[in-house]
Structure formats: structure tokens, C-alpha cells
Amino acid sequence: MPIEKITMPKLGESVTEGTISNWLVAVGDVVNKYDPLAEVMTDKVNAEIPSSFSGKIKELIAEEGQTLDVGEVICTIEVEGDKSQEEQSQEEKTVKKEADVSIQADTSQKTRYSPAVLRLSQEAGIDLALLKGTGAGGRITRKDVQKAISDGVPQVKEEEKAPVNVAVTPPKETVVHSSIQTKAGDKELPITGVRKAIASNMVKSKHEIPHAWTMVEVDVTKLVQYRNKVKDSFKKEEGYNLTFFAFFVKAVARALKEFPEINSTWAGDKIIQKKDINISIAVATEGALFVPVIKNADEKSIKGIAREITELANKARTGKLTIDEMQDGTFTVNNTGSFGSIQSMGIINHPQAAILQVESIVKRPVIKENMIAISDMVNLCMSLDHRVLDGLVCGRFLQRIKEILETTSEETTPIY
């Protein structure tokens, strides 16, 4: 009977490896197609690997705790029938092969310039990066340059241009520091998938993005009164909490709509302004940090946002977040106030352009109309990618958020 292979699936765009946390089947078990075979932990998410076939488990190749690259075989299954899928597809492939070869665009020689090409392009002042090579492996031939000289350099579409700076070497796993030694009594903690992902994302962000930082203080006395007034009835009616955080997310989403330049990303040779306003929110669990996304936050009511925050936070704490719920964020709002922080410098959630930290709301004496008053004050701290954004636009953006929040009251801002 043919043997089929189950491989480590690709559980997200940037996911390159996964760790088998535990096997749900044993050798000899009979499984149906789509039955879960194992639990796998990746950088982004914990998931189950479903069986692609019905049959009997022949061999468990990966061990629990073992980390495998995407595509590596984790186990084999004996299936009914006379040919494995692989054998069949290989037969089909050999038929298709010849056709495929010519279709695949090989560009390995794109930047290998012959002396003639270099000389001609320099004499004529032609940027070779703009030319399309017609030679083997996409090589730019002398004729290509001659054509460009006589016909002019083709205008390459923006998207087709190779990004120049994007290819910053992604920070590899931190080098093992042999000088750091464990002393008696010290505890060694293994780096889990999520911890590793956090580490690598933070290094990447700090390494690539020139961070700038700014802060405004906001008087949210009215907002606090408003929220305190409706929170109990809301809880009773909806079954979940109406947090301050929902108001902040809503205010940010509104301001982002007015300042699309903040809702953008650095792409090496260009800046991409995102149309959708998807707010990433940081959710801390014991030992890990997840950043689920409230999609199209500008289109949602405060209630809708409050509900999504509750759901996403619960899922994060129980490890049930899906890849889809963690993707496509365009701006991050971080509720650092929940730890009692009053000031913090966030690291931008790469590849977004900025992150906003909502600090603790504290009662403070403030001067109002030449009198000392007690106000509910909150600091909003923003880290920005200085390649994309400058102080002026960020200042205006924060001022707008401040304005929205300071005027938030029962009269101006409906919950529903």
C-alpha cells in the first residue's frame, strides 16, 4: 500500500518553521482525512495539523518539542489505493515539465553585467536597473542597452521596481552569547516559539526603523464621567465590559481616517498608504504577547470595538487566535495603562509606521481658568517611523485625538 507524507504546513505568510507541541495520534492509529494529527506551535499561533489523507499512521518522524522547517515531513500515513499522490503528481509533472521550464522567469543573471553592457550604459548614462533583460537568466544584453539608447529607457511601473532598502537582512536568531554563562542556582528557560517571534520582531523593528517619540497629555474628565455612568448598564445589557480602551481605539481610528499618512508603511523605495484602518491591539498573556487586529475599526461603533477587544483578548489568553485574526494590522494601539504605566516608549509593530501607547488615567491637579482643578489626565505616547512620518503631522494627529477624547461625552459620542 502506498505511503503518503504529511509535512509541516505553512501557517502564515512569514512563518518558516513550527514546533510539534504534542502528537494527537500514535503509530497504528487509523485516521480520517481532516482528523487532527498533532498540535503545532509557530511564531504566530498555535494550531492543529489536520490529516490530508485517510489511512493508518505509519511513522511519527517528528518528536514532540522538535522544531521543523515548513515542508519537512512530520509523519507518514499508509493509505488505500495503488499509487501515492506524489507518484501521480510526479508523472503529471514530467509531462508538463518542458512547457513549464520556458514559462518560469529566471532572473538570476539580471544583475550580471558584461563589459559591453557596463560600458554602453555608462557612456549613455542609462540606469541598468530600469532595463528588462532578454538574455539567459534575465541577463541584460548589449542589444538591450543599444535598444534602450535608441528607443529610450522603458518607464518601469512602480510596483515592478525592486525595492532597494527593504532587503535589509532579517535579523537572524540572536547569536548564542557564549560569554553569558549560567551560574549555580540560575534557571535556564528555553526560548519558545512565541518568545522567539517577539525577540526577532523587536530586533527587526528597532534595527530597521528609526524611531522617534512624542507624547501629549489629554484631559479625559468628561470621558471618565461618561463611561462610569454607562458601564454598569452596558455590562448588564451586553454581558461584557465597556472599557476605556474601546474609546481610545475608536478615537484613534477616527483620527487615522483624517490622517491617512499615519496609516502607512515603509516599502524601501516608496511609502504605501493603507486604505483599510486595521488597529492592532497588544494583548499580554503570561510569558507571551499577541497582537490581534480589529479590522476596519473606523467602521465600527464603540460597542463593536469593545466586543471585539473582549473576544480577541479571550482568544489570546486561551491560545485560540487564528492567523487571520493577527494579520493585516496598519496601526497599533497599546494599552500600557493597564499595567499602571504613565509613560512608555513603544517599539513599532513592524512594518507599521507608528504605535500609540495609552497610559494610565490618573487624577491630577491642573490649572483651569486660573483655578486649580482636579482632572482625569492620561498621557498618549507615540513612537513613529521617522522615515515615513515627521513631527508636524504626528503632532497634528495627536492633537486631533486629544480633541476627540476631550470632547467625548454622552452628547457627542454614542456607544452604539
Partner: protein, 327 residues
């Protein structure tokens, strides 16, 4: 303008020069009564008699040596080596005497000899009847080596060789003798020794070769043209000394060069062509210089499959030309 074969062009050139100049005479094995093993001298014995068409003994050093002596005394001998493979016993005469006498005597003596020899494979001749020997002579200043590809070039260049005041090795491709035909004008003409000839104008790739391979390249060029690839073909015609200007011009024209010889690859005539291009045309090159040549095995194999493996064929030429075009 009649169409004649490559070998007829040889005979015509010799006959016309012998008719014009009494000093011209032939010596070689079986060149007289038999008219040559390939019939290159057919009818000449009858026309000019035994004194001007001399059947020599089987001694190539003597054929060359007698010819050189006669030439130094003012005659214009055409010595024939029955096969280029047999020239080896005469190498000392040719290299040490004929090639050097003008230099050694400070122009007092010259040696206006032509040594003809059929060379090349493709006639199932195996090791003693297939060799290309030009590279052995191609670093001997004082010699000229002519290797024409068409009847027109044969006639014009052989006449030039006979009239030349210095020794000329004239190698004729034996497979081309009756395979290659072409127009040859009736009127008397000579072609300059030392000048290459553009056999086809092209824009995409340059093929530089000589002898029978010129025809392979031209055939392949026709096929490539159907696919929109335009090949430039330069026929060296004289392989020593080389026409450097023509080589540089042809190489620079397209920047992609394929050099072809049916001789063994290493140290062949095209190796020198490659060196000339490398020295002079670096900034015009768009591809590495390619060489298509016989394998570096000691001799032309006799087994047909092996002979085919060794020989340059039109298919091999086409394949390499396409590779270069795609680069």
C-alpha cells in the same frame, strides 16, 4: 560565371599559373600520370609534361627540400603533400629552412614555394588521413598558412600563393573537394593573403572560423535567421598570420563570439583568435568567448560513432550558435 567544385578551382589555379609562368612546376606523390590521389592535378602532366609535373618518391622531406632548393634558385615550385598527415617528415625543411631563409640571409635569398596539402576529417579517413596540422606551423614567423573555404577563395588565394615571394602552406579541406561548389569568374583574379572575409553580415552573434566549418556556420545561420537571430560569419581564410583588424571588428560588432575549428581545441588557431579578442575587445564583449573545437584526443577515431563524436557537425555548430544567442 560557371559553378565549379572546390577541387576544380585548385586545378584551374595551378593550370593558369603554369600557363602564365614557366617557372611554376609541380612535384609530389602521384601528381603526374595519376593526376593526384584526389585528382587535383589531373590533366596537368599531359599539358605540361614530366619536367614540370614531377612524380616524386615517397619522401616528404625530399619533396619539400627539393622544392625549397629550387625556389631559392628562382623557380616557383608547388609541392604537394598527399595528405597533410604526411607533412611531418618535412617539418624541418619547412620550419627551419623555408620559413627562415629570407631573415637569415638579410633578404638576399627568398623561398617562393607553395606546399599544398589536403587536411581535415569527415571522409572516414581515421588517424593518418584526417588531421588538421595548421596549429603546428602557426607560430612560425616567415610562413603563411592559407585555408580557404570556397572555390572562389581557393582559386584566388592559390594564385596569390603561387605568386607570393615567400613560402606559403596551402591547406585544402579534402571533404570540401567535391562537396563544395561555387561560382568562380572566368577572368584572372587573385585574393590577398592575410585578409579575412565576411561571409555573412549579422547583428546578434559573430562566428569566426575557417575551412569547411564556414559552411556549417552559414547553414546554421540560415536556420537561426528563421528564428530572428542574425549571425555574422567571418571566414579567416589565412590562419597565419591572422587578420587582427577583421577579427576585432567582427568581434566588436556583436560582442558575442563563437570560434570554431575542427582541430583539437587546446592550442589551436582559434585559441590565438580568442587571445586577440580578449586583448583588444574587452569592453565590447557581451558574452564569454565561446570555442567549438575537436576534443583533445590524439587522433580522428575510425569507428563511425566515435568519428561523429569528434567531428564538428552542422548540428553542433547550430547548437552552440543558439546557446550564444540566448546568453
Amino acid at each position: 560565371m560557371p559553378v565549379i567544385s572546390y577541387i576544380d578551382a585548385v586545378t584551374q589555379a595551378i593550370r593558369e599559373e603554369m600557363e602564365k609562368d614557366d617557372k611554376v612546376f609541380i612535384l609530389g606523390e602521384d601528381v603526374g600520370v595519376k593526376g593526384g590521389v584526389f585528382k587535383a592535378t589531373t590533366g596537368l602532366y599531359e599539358q605540361f609534361g614530366a619536367e614540370r609535373v614531377i612524380d616524386a618518391p615517397l619522401a616528404e622531406s625530399a619533396i619539400a627540400g627539393v622544392g625549397i632548393g629550387a625556389a631559392m634558385y628562382g623557380l616557383k615550385p608547388i609541392a604537394e603533400m598527399q595528405f597533410a598527415d604526411f607533412i611531418m617528415p618535412a617539418v624541418n625543411q619547412i620550419v627551419s629552412e623555408a620559413a627562415k631563409v629570407r631573415y637569415r640571409s638579410n633578404n638576399d635569398w627568398t623561398c617562393p614555394i607553395v606546399i599544398r596539402a589536403p587536411y581535415g576529417g569527415g571522409i572516414h579517413g581515421a588517424l593518418y588521413h584526417s588531421q588538421s596540422v595548421e596549429a603546428m606551423f602557426a607560430n612560425t614567423p616567415g610562413l603563411k598558412i592559407v585555408m580557404p573555404s570556397t572555390p572562389y577563395d581557393v582559386k584566388g588565394l592559390l594564385k596569390a600563393a603561387i605568386q607570393d615571394p615567400d613560402p606559403v602552406l596551402f591547406f585544402e579541406h579534402k571533404r570540401a573537394y567535391r562537396l563544395i561548389k561555387g561560382f568562380v569568374p572566368d577572368e584572372d583574379y587573385v585574393l590577398p593573403i592575410g585578409k579575412a572575409d565576411i561571409k555573412r553580415e549579422g547583428e546578434d552573434i559573430t562566428v569566426i572560423t575557417y575551412g569547411l566549418c564556414v559552411h556549417f556556420a552559414l547553414q546554421a545561420a540560415e536556420k537561426l535567421a528563421e528564428d530572428g537571430i542574425s549571425a555574422h560569419v567571418l571566414d579567416l581564410r589565412t590562419v597565419y598570420p591572422l587578420d587582427k583588424e577583421a577579427i576585432m571588428e567582427a568581434a566588436s560588432k556583436t560582442g558575442k563570439v563563437l570560434l570554431i575549428t575542427e582541430d583539437n581545441k587546446e592550442g589551436s588557431v582559434i585559441s590565438e583568435v580568442a587571445a586577440i579578442i580578449a586583448e583588444n575587445c574587452l569592453f565590447d564583449l557581451d558574452a564569454p568567448i565561446m570555442r567549438l573545437a575537436g576534443e583533445d584526443v590524439p587522433a580522428m577515431p575510425y569507428a563511425p560513432t566515435m568519428e561523429k563524436f569528434f567531428l564538428i557537425t552542422p548540428e553542433k555548430v547550430e547548437t552552440e550558435m543558439r546557446k550564444l544567442a540566448e546568453f
